[in-house]
């Protein structure tokens, strides 16, 4: 197998979509003595190893993965980053 490529995917809620988790985290931090914390949004961060050497191809494949599984594009956005 080829030396693997690494990818980082961020999946975040679209603007305007309610983020119950983020809201609760924000509240909690305020209560814990961090009044400076304002809006908090929580997303997912996924690291993948890919047996792929071609960057363009990798990106296209990752895009496909995001749309098929990793993100729910009705309410989420995603971004892809390739490393190494």
């Amino acid at each position: 197998m080829k030396a693997p490529m690494k990818a980082r995917v961020h999946v975040t809620l679209k603007n305007g979509v309610l983020d119950p988790q983020g809201k609760a985290i924000g509240h909690s931090l305020n209560r814990l003595g961090f009044p400076e914390v304002g809006d908090v949004r929580q997303g997912k961060y996924i690291e993948l190893e890919l047996a792929e050497t071609d960057k363009a191809r990798a990106r296209a494949r990752l895009d496909d993965m995001c749309r098929k599984l990793l993100a729910n594009t009705v309410i989420e956005n995603y971004s892809i980053e390739l490393v190494g």
Binding site: P20, Q21, A24, I25, S28, R31, L32, Q42
Partner: protein, 233 residues
């Protein structure tokens, strides 16, 4: 036995455990709202099941930081027994009252139903009415009950007899494919419940409080509360 059940925003099995305690003691436990830093002296503190703070971020993480938990930690350090069930176990683990962490169930799904548990020891406040090796049937209901501890911690737990219960097949088998099949969440070594070092704090994922009446899931959980009453009255 005087008991206090702590209530966090999002707790939802506090009524179930209060009912079970009332059934064996004839007395309604004190319900303590999380915002109250202080509460009456009690013989037992219960951290009940539920979804404190929605289980957002990590189960139990936000509750572990609430003012009342500082008081619980203080009393636990003084030896006041703490029974931490399900979300309570997650809170206790986050607060460092018991070792280990509870992660997402291996299959990533919420699981509800009866499981079989092997009693690992009868030498505790919580298990004195059971016999070591005995198999009981109680329900589980959780999405993050996958117990994990690093190798050192695990060894220490096992060596010092700090494992309280393990998931097992109906015949008590913990190992092999039968044991694996009986494990509802992927917990390491089928661990369902653990003690702190002094065995005054017990955390467990299953719900003995939902197994105290014959028509409603059987009575296998009742002895846990009876044992506590015996030890603490």
């Amino acid at each position: 036995m005087k008991a206090a059940v702590l209530v966090f925003p999002g707790s939802n099995r506090e009524g179930d455990v209060a009912q079970a305690i009332e059934l064996v003691t004839g007395r309604r436990p004190q319900m303590v709202w999380h915002g109250d830093g202080d509460f009456e002296k009690t013989d037992l503190i219960v951290l009940p099941g539920g979804f404190s703070y929605g289980d957002y971020l990590r189960c139990g993480a936000m509750a572990a930081q609430s003012p009342v938990m500082a008081e619980v930690k203080k009393r636990a350090a003084q030896g006041v027994p703490v029974l931490a069930i399900c979300n309570g176990f997650q809170i206790a683990a986050e607060a460092g009252l018991v070792p280990g962490v509870l992660m997402r169930n291996e299959n990533l799904k919420f699981v509800c139903g009866d499981v079989h548990l092997k009693i690992e020891t009868s030498q505790s406040l919580f298990t004195n009415r059971y016999q070591a090796g005995q198999v009981i049937k109680v329900p589980v209901a959780h999405a993050e009950g996958n117990y994990f501890a690093d190798a050192d911690t695990l060894k220490r737990l096992e060596d010092r007899g700090q494992v309280a219960f393990r998931y097992c097949a109906p015949d008590g088998t913990v190992d092999g494919p039968l044991g694996q099949e009986a494990n509802p969440n992927g917990s390491i070594r089928n661990i369902a419940g653990v003690f702190n070092e002094t065995k005054t704090v017990m955390g467990l994922m299953p719900h003995p409080e939902n197994a105290v009446e014959p028509l409603f899931g059987g009575c296998d959980g009742k002895a846990l509360f009876e044992g506590l009453v015996e030890a603490l009255s």
